[in-house]
C-alpha cells in the first residue's frame, strides 16, 4: 500500500499575536543546519524581514536566502502561491524545498490558512499540515486575549504555543498568561522562549509523517492529555475536551455526526483531531478538521498500541462536551466512555 503521507511536504503555520516575534522565530528556524531547504511564505518584507542575506532576488518577490532557503512574498491568495511553489519545484525552477513555513499576519485567523490545505485537491495531494505554532507575547498577551478575538482563536487552534518575552514580563505575568493559554487549549504543549532561544525540535515534525502509526508520533500529534481536569480554570467560551469510544463505530456514525455539527455549528468547531476505530478497518482512521471542513481521512497501517479506542480531541467555541457526546449517541448510536 502506498504511504500517502510520506511524500507530502510538511507545512508549518507560524501565527501569533502582534509583536510576538514570529519573524524572529522563523529566522532562528532557518539558521538550523537541517533547515536549509525551506520555502518560507511571508506576507510582506517589512523592516523585521527575514534577516538572512538575500543572494538572488527576482522581480517577482521570490528570493533565495544565503542558506539555500527560499523566501516568497504572498501575492494574491495562498492557494495559488502553494500551487505555484509545487510546480516550480517540480520543474527545478526553484530550490528543492522539503518544508514550507507560512508566516501569518498578527491579526490573521489561522483557520482559512489550514483549510486551504484541505480544500484544494492538488495541495492535498502534495502538502500536509505539520504544525500550527502560536506565539504569545508575555508582556501584552493577556490584554490581547481579553480585548481581541484573533489571539483567542490563534491560541485555540495551535498545536504548539510559544510564550515570548517572558524575561521582560516577569514570572508572575508569564505564569498568568500560561494558565490562560492552557485554559484555552489544554492539549497544546507550551514552552517559553528564553532570551529569544526556542527549542526548535519542539516545533517541527508534529503532524503525522507517515502511515506507520508509531505511538510516539501519534502522541506528539495529538498533544498533551488534558489531565489537569478540574484543577485549572477552563475558559468560559473556548471549550476543549476529548471523547473516547471503546467500541468501534461505523464510518457513517462518525462522518454524519460531524456533518451535523459542521452544518449547524461549523464556525464554532474550531479544531478536531483524533483517531477513529472504524469497524472492519485494520488501522485507525486519522481525522482532522478545522471548523466545518475535514481533511480526507487517512487509515494508518496499524494501531499504535493495545488501546484501540476512538479518541477525538475537540476545541470548540461554546459547544460543551455533552452536546457532542449526545450527538454521537443520537446519530451514531455510540456512547462516549470518557
Amino acid at each position: 500500500m502506498a504511504d500517502v503521507l510520506a511524500g507530502r511536504f510538511p507545512v508549518s503555520i507560524i501565527t501569533g499575536f502582534l509583536g510576538s516575534g514570529k519573524t524572529t522565530l522563523i529566522n532562528k528556524l532557518l539558521k538550523r543546519p537541517d533547515m536549509n531547504r525551506v520555502a518560507v511564505i511571508v506576507n510582506e518584507l517589512g523592516e523585521q524581514a527575514i534577516d538572512n542575506d538575500l543572494v538572488e532576488v527576482s522581480s517577482e518577490q521570490m528570493m533565495l536566502l544565503n542558506n539555500g532557503c527560499l523566501c516568497c512574498v504572498l501575492r494574491g491568495d495562498l492557494q495559488e502561491t502553494l500551487r505555484d511553489l509545487f510546480v516550480k519545484r517540480r520543474n527545478g525552477d526553484i530550490i528543492d524545498f522539503d518544508r514550507v513555513i507560512i508566516e501569518t499576519t498578527g491579526l490573521a485567523d489561522p483557520a482559512p490558512v489550514m483549510q486551504t490545505l484541505m480544500t484544494d485537491d492538488m495541495l492535498q495531494a502534495h502538502y500536509r499540515m505539520d504544525c500550527v505554532v502560536t506565539l504569545a507575547d508575555a508582556v501584552n498577551g493577556l490584554e490581547q486575549l481579553e480585548t481581541m478575538q484573533e489571539p483567542v482563536k490563534q491560541a485555540a487552534l495551535a498545536d504548539r504555543i510559544v510564550i515570548t518575552k517572558s524575561d521582560i514580563a516577569g514570572e508572575e505575568t508569564t505564569a498568568k498568561l500560561e494558565a490562560r493559554l492552557r485554559s484555552l487549549n489544554p492539549q497544546a504543549p507550551i514552552k517559553r522562549a528564553v532570551n529569544g532561544e526556542i527549542d526548535l525540535a519542539f516545533l517541527i515534525d508534529v503532524g503525522l509523517r507517515d502511515m506507520k502509526g508509531k505511538l510516539e508520533d501519534i502522541e506528539r500529534w495529538m498533544g498533551e492529555p488534558d489531565e489537569h481536569g478540574e484543577h485549572h480554570r477552563h475558559d468560559a467560551t473556548v471549550k476543549s475536551f476529548c471523547l473516547r469510544f471503546d467500541e468501534p463505530m461505523t464510518w457513517a456514525a462518525f462522518s454524519q455526526t460531524m456533518e451535523v455539527l459542521g452544518a449547524l455549528r461549523g464556525s464554532d468547531m474550531l479544531r478536531v483531531k483524533g483517531l477513529v476505530n472504524v469497524a472492519e478497518h485494520k488501522g485507525p482512521m486519522v481525522v482532522q478538521g478545522v471548523q466545518h471542513l475535514f481533511h480526507p481521512p487517512v487509515e494508518l497501517a496499524a494501531w499504535p498500541s493495545a488501546d484501540h479506542s476512538t479518541r477525538i480531541v475537540f476545541i470548540t467555541r461554546k459547544i460543551p462536551r455533552e452536546t457532542v457526546a449526545n450527538l454521537f449517541a443520537a446519530i451514531g448510536a455510540v456512547t462516549a466512555t470518557a
Binding site: 502506498a2 504511504d3 510520506a6 511524500g7 533565495l64 516550480k88 519545484r89 527545478g92 526553484i94
Partner: protein
C-alpha cells in the same frame, strides 16, 4: 513568479520527490553507462548489478549491491578498441549476454558474447555470436530472460539494407547450448532489405533515425509475442509462435507527426495496455516532444494511444544541458531481483532524471516521484543524463548516467 535560478544552477541542484538517494558510485571513474542493466543473485547470495557501458574503453561493470548503501565494483572489463561499444546486456541465472555494436560497418567484434558469471569477479567467455558483415555494425540490444533465446537487435553478414540507416533487424538466437548460439528466426521491416518486394518505407522528413528495432521485449506471459520498438517505424507487435516465421500483428506508426525513434514497447499484462517510449536523441530540446505514451491494446490490431506520461515543461529543462525527454523504462523483466508492476512505471528522461508514474487510470497517469541528480562532476553536457534504470524486487531504483555520473541507488517511497 519567475525562476530565480540560471539554467546552470538549475542543472547543478538535485531535485526529488518521493525518491531519496541511498548511495552514489562513480564506477571507478568510468561512470558512463549505456542501456543494459540487470541484477544477478549469485549462488553465494550476493546481489550483483551488471551494467553495460555507453562507450569504450569499458565493456561492462559488475557492482555488488548486496548492501545498497555501499555499492562495490567487483569487476570492470575493457573493450578491444575504441570503435566498438557494448551498450546492452541481460542476465539469466549465471549467464550474461552482451551486445557489441561497431562505429563502422564491417568492423569487429560485432554481435554478442555469452559469459559465465558464476564467479562475478571472473566472467568467463562462453561463446561469441558473430554478426559482422559488409553492411553490419553488429548488435545494439539484447533481450534475454528465459535462458533459451536471445532476441537480438542486430545486423548480419547476409543483410544489405535498402537505406544505410536501416542496418539492424530482429534476430532470434537459440542459446540453449550457450557454446553454440545459432539463429532460428528473423524479421525486418518490409522494404528495408534489398530485394524486398515492398518499397522502402518513407524517411522521416526532419530526423531520419532509421528503421531498426531498438528494444524487443518477449515475456513469459506471452511467449508468442515480440513487442518491438522500431525507431521511425513506431511500435510493432510480432507473432513469434513459429520462431522461424515471425509475422507482423500490428504496427502503430506515429512519426511523423512525431519525431521518430520509438525505443521501447512494454506491455502491462492484465490491463491490455502498452507503454511506448521514444528516445530523445538531440540536445537542447531540438527533437522535442519525446514522450512516453499509454496505449490501449485491447484490440491488438488497432493500437490507440490514450495519454502520455506527464512531464515537466520542456521550457524548464531543454536548456539545462544535453538531452531532455523519454528514453528507457524499467521493463518488468522476469527474474528473482526484478520489480514487476502493471501500474507503476519507472522511466528515464536524461536531464529530467528518473521518474515514476502511476498508470492506474490510463487516461490520466500521475507522476508520483522523481529523482534528478545535480550535474555530475565534469559532466560534458553540464547536466545529468539519466540513461537507464533498473528497479529491484524491493523497490530500490538503480539509475545510471550516460556520461560520468555512474550509478545512483534511490529509495522510492511511493
Amino acid at each position: 513568479m519567475k525562476p530565480t535560478m540560471s539554467p546552470q544552477s538549475q542543472a547543478a541542484q538535485t531535485i526529488s520527490r518521493n525518491m531519496k538517494l541511498v548511495s552514489h558510485n562513480e564506477l571507478a571513474g568510468f561512470g558512463g553507462i549505456g542501456e543494459g542493466i540487470n541484477m544477478q543473485v549469485a549462488k553465494d547470495g550476493r546481489r550483483i548489478l551488471w551494467l553495460a557501458h555507453e562507450s569504450a574503453p569499458k565493456n561492462f561493470t559488475g557492482v555488488d549491491v548486496t548492501d545498497p548503501k555501499n555499492p562495490k565494483v567487483v569487476v570492470q572489463t575493457d573493450l578491444p578498441h575504441e570503435g566498438v561499444r557494448s551498450n546492452s546486456l541481460d542476465v539469466v541465472g549465471d549467464i550474461m549476454a552482451v551486445a557489441y555494436q561497431t562505429k563502422k560497418v564491417g568492423d569487429k567484434p560485432a554481435g554478442m558474447d555469452l559469459f559465465d558469471i558464476s564467479t562475478p569477479e571472473k566472467p568467463k567467455l562462453i561463446s561469441h555470436f558473430d554478426a559482422s558483415g559488409p553492411h553490419s555494425r553488429g548488435a545494439h540490444c539484447v533481450w534475454f530472460v528465459d535462458g533459451e533465446y536471445v532476441h537480438l537487435t542486430s545486423g548480419s553478414g547476409d543483410f544489405e539494407p535498402t537505406h544505410p540507416n536501416d542496418f539492424q533487424f530482429y534476430r532470434i538466437i537459440d542459446v540453449r547450448n550457450p557454446s553454440k548460439p545459432k539463429e532460428v528466426g528473423r524479421w525486418h521491416y518490409p522494404g528495408t532489405h534489398k530485394g524486398d518486394k515492398e518499397a522502402p518505407p518513407p524517411r522521416h522528413p526532419r530526423f531520419d533515425g532509421g528503421y531498426r528495432p531498438h528494444n524487443i521485449n518477449v515475456y513469459p506471459e506471452r511467449p508468442d509475442r515480440a513487442y518491438m520498438a522500431y525507431l521511425d517505424g513506431g511500435a510493432v507487435i510480432l507473432d513469434i509462435s513459429d520462431k522461424a516465421n515471425p509475422k507482423m500483428v500490428t504496427n502503430w506508426k506515429y512519426s511523423p507527426p512525431f519525431n521518430g525513434f520509438c525505443h521501447t514497447v512494454m506491455p502491462l499484462f492484465g490491463r491490455d495496455l502498452l507503454i511506448v517510449t521514444d528516445e530523445c536523441t538531440k540536445d537542447d530540446g531540438i527533437d522535442w516532444p519525446k514522450l512516453g505514451f499509454v496505449v490501449n491494446a485491447s484490440v491488438e490490431t488497432n493500437l490507440v494511444p490514450v495519454s502520455t506520461l506527464p512531464l515537466p515543461p520542456v521550457e524548464s529543462f531543454a536548456k539545462r544541458g544535453g538531452r531532455y525527454g523519454a528514453h528507457n523504462l524499467h521493463e518488468n523483466l522476469p527474474g528473482p531481483a526484478s520489480f514487476r508492476s502493471n501500474t507503476l512505471v519507472v522511466g528515464t528522461f536524461f536531464n529530467g532524471g528518473v521518474r515514476a508514474f502511476d498508470t492506474s487510470n490510463p487516461y490520466q497517469p500521475q507522476e508520483v516521484g522523481y529523482f534528478v541528480p545535480g550535474a555530475p562532476k565534469l559532466s560534458p553536457k553540464g547536466a545529468v543524463q539519466i540513461n537507464d534504470v533498473w528497479v529491484d524486487e524491493k523497490g530500490l531504483v538503480y539509475a545510471v548516467d550516460r556520461f560520468g555520473g555512474g550509478l545512483y541507488v534511490i529509495e522510492m517511497t511511493v
